[in-house]
Structures are given as C-alpha cells and as structure tokens.
Symmetry: C2
Subunit: 344 residues, 2 copies
C-alpha cells in the first residue's frame, strides 16, 4: 500500500477515509493566491514561474486541507508551445492571434516530443512541488483533452456556440481529426514528462465535452483521451488516470477505456454514474460548486453523496471548479464535512 491514500483510492483500494480535493482549488477564492498572482504580474507569468506556481499549488493543501495538490498551470500552455501565440486579455479570457483554419496551419505547428520539450517550466514546477509536498499528499498532473484544446485553437478564444469548430466537425472532419491527432501526440509526451518529473496521478480535463452531440463524442474526443490513457498505462501502469469529461450524462453507456477514475460532473447524478460505471471505475465528484455558497447546502450534498457511494470506490470533489467568490471558510467546511462523513 502506498503512503498516499489519494493514490490508493484512485486504484480502487480500501482507504481509512474517502480522500477529497477540489477542482481549481489553487485559485482566486484564496487571498494567498491573489497575493502571489499580483506579484507574478499576470496569469501566464504565474504559469511560467516554477517557484510561484509551486507556491500556489501547495496553498490549498495547507489552507483547506485537501488530500491532493493539483499542479498549477493552464491547459493552453500546450498550444502555446506548439507555436500558437497565447495571450490572456483582461476580462475576455484566452486569445490565440492566429487560429487554425487550414491543413497548412496545422503543419506549421510544432508537434510531438519537440513541443512537449518546450514545457520545461511545468516540469520544473513539478520537481519543486515534489520537494515540498508532504509525503502523504498526492500530486495530480493534468492536461486538457485534445478536443477541448482544439476548440480554442480553432475558435481563437472561448466560445458559446463552438460554431467554427463544429462547422469543421461536420463539413471537414478530416481536418479536425488532423488537429486532434497532432495535439494527442504532444499530450502523450507532455504527460509522460509530467510523470517523469514526479506527479502521482494524471487527470485529463475535457471541459467542453458537452459541446459535442452524444453520438459523435467518441469519434471526436473520447477515443483520443483513451489513446492517451493507453499510451501512459503501457509505460506507467502504476500511475492512476482520471478522466473528466464535463457534461456527458447521455454518454455514460458508451464509456470505455483503460483508466482508473471517472470524474463525475455536477450535471450527472452520482447514482446514475454509480449504476452505469461504478463497477468498472472509481468515481470522483460531484458536488455542484455553487453549493459552496451555503454551508447547509454543502452539508446536505456531501451527506447525499456519501449515502450513494458508501465510502467505497469514491473520491470526494466538486463537479466543476470552485468559483472565485466562495468564502474560504466554506471551502474548508466542504473538506471537513467530507472527512466527517467518511470517518476521518
């Protein structure tokens, strides 16, 4: 048995209590995070600065008491290092100045290990965290799913309708697959290098899974996530992999692949996820993050999830990222309630 109960729980082993962490736990709701971010200048500077990225990664472990740290970074550093010019415009979010429109646009991007090798600041951050993180806490590394990354690379920014990438999906699927395949290759090397640098667990975030109709989700996203998982499992079978496709309750019957944990978003009832997937995968989740606005709403949800999962093959988490205006005290309450109901 490993000394990290989070890793054990991911692998489906019995643990003395149910571990807990929160998506976006190193984030703007923490005054300590805001202070470091202000020192760093802007968000991208913070991602590029191993000392400061390490510091904010560790903050929620110390302040909120979660069982795992998650690497502080951004999913879009991947296309940035593939040669797309990433910037964050205040109040507008991420922008790429030259979105992908043609095959030539894809060909000019840096691919494979060469792109992954450029993400040294991420690996350096991981090594620093590893030195400072307590032995009983796990470190989660992560990547965006190829589909989610591709949406930004094609739209040039966040989108409500995804109409540019969906036009490509239906009118020129070969081009979209070419982008997805190229990103998938980079992600394989990127996650391998994160593992070599010291992460304990991999999470693949498909934040925009719900933008794809259920009958097409496997073809344009899930199969690429599975390809990444297969690659990593063939080399690092002891490293647990968490898949988090947000907003796919209608896809649960089709879920397959060699990974360990299925991250359940808050729109997917935990009981449904348990019924469909609980025998095959450990389940992570899934409190609605807005319940953190109320201690009572938090407690009743944590108790409800515990009743469904019974402390078996489960990791407590939110069903999406914590929002910036949640009081820190409420985040602590969530963590302590998860510990209380699961017997810590």
């Amino acid at each position: 048995m490993s000394s990290k109960i989070f890793v054990d729980a991911c692998l489906g082993k019995e643990t003395p209590y149910t571990p807990v962490w929160m998506m976006r736990q190193a984030g703007r709701y923490l005054p300590e995070y805001m202070a470091v971010r202000a020192e760093a200048g802007d968000f991208l500077n913070l991602c590029h600065n191993p000392e400061k990225a390490c510091e904010v990664t560790l903050q929620p472990v110390d302040i909120v008491g979660v069982d795992a740290a998650i690497l502080f970074s951004d999913i879009l550093v991947i296309p940035d290092e593939m040669g797309m010019d990433l910037s964050f415009v205040k109040g507008e979010g991420p922008k790429f100045s030259d979105p992908i429109e043609t095959e030539a646009d894809i060909d000019r991007l840096i691919g494979g290990e060469e792109a992954a090798d450029k993400l040294t600041y991420v690996y350096d951050t991981i090594k620093l965290i590893r030195e400072q993180l307590a032995d009983d806490k796990a470190l989660i590394g992560f990547t965006g799913a190829p589909w989610t990354l591709a949406t930004y690379m094609i739209e040039g920014q966040g989108t409500k309708t995804y109409n540019i990438c969906k036009k490509m999906m239906y009118a020129n699927p070969t081009l979209l697959h070419k982008i997805l395949a190229k990103v998938t290759e980079v992600v394989k090397y990127y996650m391998e290098k994160q593992i070599e640098a010291g992460i304990d667990v991999v999470q693949i975030f498909d934040s925009w899974a719900a933008a794809i109709e259920p009958s097409m989700y496997d073809e344009f996203s899930w199969k690429y996530m599975v390809e990444i998982a297969d690659y990593l499992k063939s080399k690092y079978p002891h490293i647990p992999i968490i898949m988090f496709p947000k907003g796919v309750p209608a896809f649960l019957d089709q879920v397959y692949g060699n990974f360990d944990v299925f991250g359940v978003d808050w729109g997917t009832p935990m009981a449904l996820a348990k019924e469909k997937l609980g025998d095959r995968y450990v389940l992570q989740g899934n409190m609605e993050p807005c319940r953190l606005y109320s201690k009572e709403a938090t407690t009743s949800c944590v108790e409800g999830i515990q009743e469904i999962m019974g402390g078996k093959r489960h990791i407590f988490n939110l069903g999406h990222g914590i929002l910036p205006d949640v009081p820190v005290e409420h985040a602590k309450h969530f963590v302590s309630e998860c510990q209380r109901v699961s017997g810590k």
Copy 2:
C-alpha cells in the same frame, strides 16, 4: 381533424407526413430578415413593431417551407414590461440596468395581468400574422420559462456561471422562489392573451435548464412550467403546449405534467427520449443545429431520427436555434429532407 397538420401532430394525431419547423427560424441567417431588421433600427425596435415583427415571422414559412410560424419576439420583453429596463448592447447581448437583489426589488416590479397587459405589441403582432398566415400553417406563441427569465433578472445579463442566481438558489431559496412565482403569474396571463390573440400552439423555452443540477430542477424550474401549463390547459384544453427544457437528459426520468409535446435538445439522444417519454408525450427535435453546415451531415441525421421515431408522435426540429452563418439553402435542404423521409 384540424386543417393544420402541425397542430394535429402536437396532439398526437396521425398526420400525412411529419411536420417540421426550426427554432430561431425567423433569424439572422435569412437576408430578408436582416433587411427588415436594418429598417427597424435595432432588435428591440423590431420586437416592438407589429408590422415588421409580422413580416419576419412569415418569412421562413414562405422561404424555407416550414409547417409552422413562430411569433417573432424576445423572451425578455416580459421582465422589461414588469418594469426592468431592458437594452441590447451591440456585441454584448441583453442588459438590465438594475438587477434584482432584494425582496423590495421584487415588490417594485409590476406583476400579474397588469404587466401582461402592457405587451400589446405582441398581441397586435399575433393578430397581424393571423390575418396573413396560410390556413394550413400553425402559429406558435412562446414564453421563456420563469427560471430562464429569472437568470437575466438576477444577473442583469447573460452569464456563463450563473453564480449570482445560484448563490440565491442555495443561500436564499425563498427569495428566488418569490421571483419565480411573480414571473409565473405574469407568464400565465401573457400566454393566455397570446392565445386570445390567435396563436395555435404554446412553446415554453427553458433555455438555461442545464444550469440547475438535476436534483433541484423540478423545484426551481419544472414545477413552475407545469403550473403555467396547468393553468392554460384548464382554460384552453385544445391548445397544444410544447415544453423545451434545454440540456436535461439526466432529468428525463422525472418529467411529468399536463402538456403535449416534449422538445428534445440535441444533447439528449432521441432514442433515450423516446424510451423514457415517447408513450406519454409527442417528441419534437432534435438535430444538432451545427449539422446545417453540411448537407450530408443533415441528411444522415434526419434519416437517423426518422428511423428512431418512425413518423409517429414526432415533429421534426433542430435541437436548439439555427445559427446566423448557416446558408439558407442548407436550411431548405433540412426541411425538404424531413419531408422526403416522412413521405410528403
């Protein structure tokens, strides 16, 4: 049997072919619409102008060949006439200058029939359409669901996170229910007056249904929609009611109420909707609107839906609104393919 096959289909009667319409069919993809809108000045002026609103309502019936016209208007005229100050900021969407924060804010709003009486331009538009619409075509009137309307009234604009209204949902549910109840009362009168003015069918759009976790959806949205349907059915049992809650595949097992048609969004597989609801409700939908970018993707989807529904208890539609950059020719192709596969 009515002379309108769309109305017959809504009521579950056999029809010679499966009728078809498209959400947002009177919209920006039509050059003829853009011309009228330019004459009107802006979007809200167009809503307030019965002659021009009538003209754009009728356009898709003539140009694209759908079986039903849907009243051209906006869901937000309701809170506007309740006394909130609505404006549309170019490129940013709708804004209310003074969002609801307190009980006093709710109390100062105009309620019930008094608010509904102020929407005369809507009823005048309906009367004009009625005079000009062919006898075999149906006219759909509509409203936003109280929840969807409340999100704008509370946030003051569109939102990605709904964090202000969800904070209210979890921390002050009584206040949210007070807003929802007040909006529900206005909507009852509003839809009654639309019926009296001449609409054939009611559709209730809950565009932001997916913002509520499945276990809370009934309490904060569905029950209010059912209350509106009950009220209308008690007075106008012959008027079909279509419920369209967008993005609720995980809620299908809990759907109840006295209405006729369930609008299936594109994220909910038609086969799943048929299995769960097909015996009790006629199903409308559900092609992914982005499939309109490709004639081939359109045809294969229309054929797939026809195979599932078999031309019974079904209305063809998109699973959400048509996007502005779809070629008109592709919209016509969708309509003609629906007619072809269903034997018109």
